[in-house]
Amino acid sequence: MKISREDVLRVAELAYLDLSEAELETYRAQIDEILEYIGKLNELDTTNVEPMAQVLAEDQSADATLREDLIVPCAVAEDVLAHAPDPEPPYFRVPKVIER
């Protein structure tokens, strides 16, 4: 077994994800099978391979991706707040996080 019930619980906690008892066991079993399959990567010796985090075209120079830091108007705050679950313009309201 690659992943235990406790592992899934710990990961769900990290991801702020409520899972039911049934979900917990179903996902554990399915992810266990997937991790078992993923284990085949260990057949490959990658000691001297640089990890590839991003696809970057070779002709893409830094000046093509970095722009000047200019201030441009961005008047979307009202639109954005209009669709928030609990807006208190100009803020998003959330449950109290600081105890007095």
Binding site: Y16, E33, I34, L35, L41, E43, E50, P95
Partner: protein, 479 residues
């Protein structure tokens, strides 16, 4: 009426005043009304926005003004791509009522070119899936075989074009989500190189893989849509300044005995015999067209699914952290902030998304990062190297798009790993960042469509399109 299922057909009909843009729009909505309840391919229609645009085009025609390249062409947009003032759900309950305050660049460019946006199409939740059965709004049916899936995740975008409910559409491809539904619905479908099309306004799934691309009824139209949406966008730092060639001009050029690579690893066990037969006929047709066929090796192909499902889920777990019930979308209230997060996410995400968040968080977590995530990235580098090596020998790579034809609804939902394994031919190109197209390659027993996939080197879209166009013109779809 002339055929308005192609861009040229629409153009000719409008120019000859056989139909107005407004009338054409009404025709499409009438057909949508008749067919969509069964197909479930459109989630939201945008009639007001469409009428405004159609009226603008009709105004230009009345004034005798020159028409933009996609004038009056009815198009559909996958529901993971933002549309201003129009619901964009990502096929998820967590964004059921989400209304973006801006348009994606690809949408903006389509409209600026005269296209008329009909509505938003169904898809697997957050583009995670290969059958469209992971949508919170029910599966899409394959218009060519109603008991079968249209493929995924861009199943709705493929189905509306195949069913004549749009002339073209936009989908997104992370591990095959454009090419595989294109294959399943019997139409050409393309993902350009990573960086070719701006992703500003695309709701992120896996940022090092996600790409926007077109579906249409023929390759020429796929090229026209790509032409419109491609190119640098200051709003997306991953969009490149690489020049965008004139694809239509490239299509018109004769093939100069191109070398097509046939990778042995893509023709190993596991391919449906019906698919194999059609792809072999497709290879023979390319030979007849004067292509030189070269046997090549891509030795890391068999590791692509494992690497892909590490990288894609890791990136997804990070991207989907934003759905916390604070700024948009669903909120399940609670007195505690953390409990609100947990409940909102637990209630708002569907099973496949939760599974991938758990897997992605796990492979990134302390103690497992090196064994899984870093290993996945290293294997990704090896797969990209396979492509670089291949392109020193050949101009393009030919493979099947999917090992299986469209399968029956419900047939594969209980086993996620089996569903993932069917992405074997498409995820490789996703990891490498190269462009790929799926083009129709006959139908099994005159019914189930098969797609043939062509990969080109980075920014080699023109060559890929040219080959696919020649194949189509030579009768590839009727093999």
């Amino acid at each position: 009426m002339t055929s308005t299922s192609t861009i040229d057909g629409v153009k000719e009909a409008l120019a000859a005043k056989k139909v107005s843009a407004r009338e054409l729009l009404a025709d499409f909505y009438k057909r949508i009304e008749a067919k969509n309840p069964e197909l479930n391919a459109y989630l939201t229609l945008t009639p007001e926005r469409a009428r405004r645009q159609a009226d603008r085009i009709d105004g230009l025609i009345a004034e005798g003004q020159p028409l933009p390249p996609l004038a009056g062409v009815p198009v559909a947009i996958k529901d993971v791509i933002s549309t201003r003032d129009t619901k964009t759900t990502c096929g998820s309950k967590i964004l059921e009522n989400y209304i973006p305050p801006y348009d994606a660049t690809a949408v903006e460019r389509l409209e600026a070119a005269g296209a008329v946006i009909l509505g938003k199409t169904n898809c697997d939740e957050f583009a995670m899936g290969s059958s469209n059965e992971n949508s919170a709004y029910g599966p899409v049916k394959n218009p060519l075989a109603l008991d079968r899936v249209p493929g995924g995740s861009s199943g709705g975008s493929a189905a509306v074009v195949a069913a004549g409910l749009a002339v073209a559409s936009l989908g997104t491809d992370t591990g095959g989500s454009i090419r595989q539904p294109g294959s399943f619905c019997g139409i050409p479908a393309m993902m350009g190189s990573y960086g070719r099309v701006s992703r500003y306004g695309l709701i992120a799934f896996a940022s090092s893989l996600d790409r926007i691309g077109p579906f249409a009824t023929r390759v020429r139209d796929v090229a026209a849509i790509l032409q419109t949406i491609a190119g640098r966008d200051p709003h997306d730092s991953t969009s490149t300044t690489a020049p965008v060639p004139d694809y239509a001009a490239e299509l018109a050029k004769p093939l100069k005995r191109p070398r097509l690579g046939i990778p042995k690893e893509y023709f190993a066990e596991g391919m449906d015999p019906g698919v194999r037969k059609k792809i072999e006929a497709g290879i023979a047709l390319f030979r007849k067209l004067g292509c030189e066929l070269v046997d090549i090796r891509m030795p890391h192909t068999d590791y692509a699914i494992a690497a892909y499902y590490i990288i894609a889920t890791a990136e997804a777990s990070s991207n989907l952290a934003r759905y916390d019930g604070v700024r948009y979308g669903l909120r399940i209230p609670d007195d505690s902030l953390l409990a609100m997060y947990r409940k909102t996410r637990g209630a708002g995400f569907g099973p496949e998304v939760k599974r991938r968040i758990v897997l992605g968080t796990y492979v990134l977590s302390a103690g497992y990062y090196d064994a899984y995530y870093l290993k996945g990235q290293k294997v990704r580098a090896l797969i990209a190297q396979d492509f670089r090596d291949a392109f020193t020998k050949v101009d393009a790579i030919l493979t099947p798009t999917s090992p299986v034809p469209p399968f029956k609804l419900g047939e594969r939902t209980s086993d996620p790993l089996q569903m993932y394994l069917a992405d074997i031919y498409t995820v490789t190109g996703s990891l490498a960042g190269v462009p790929g197209i799926s083009v129709p390659c006959g139908r099994i027993d005159s019914k189930l469509p098969v797609g043939l996939q062509l990969f080109g080197p980075p920014f080699g879209e023109a060559r890929v399109l040219q080959l696919a166009h020649a194949f189509e013109q030579a009768g590839g779809a009727e093999l």
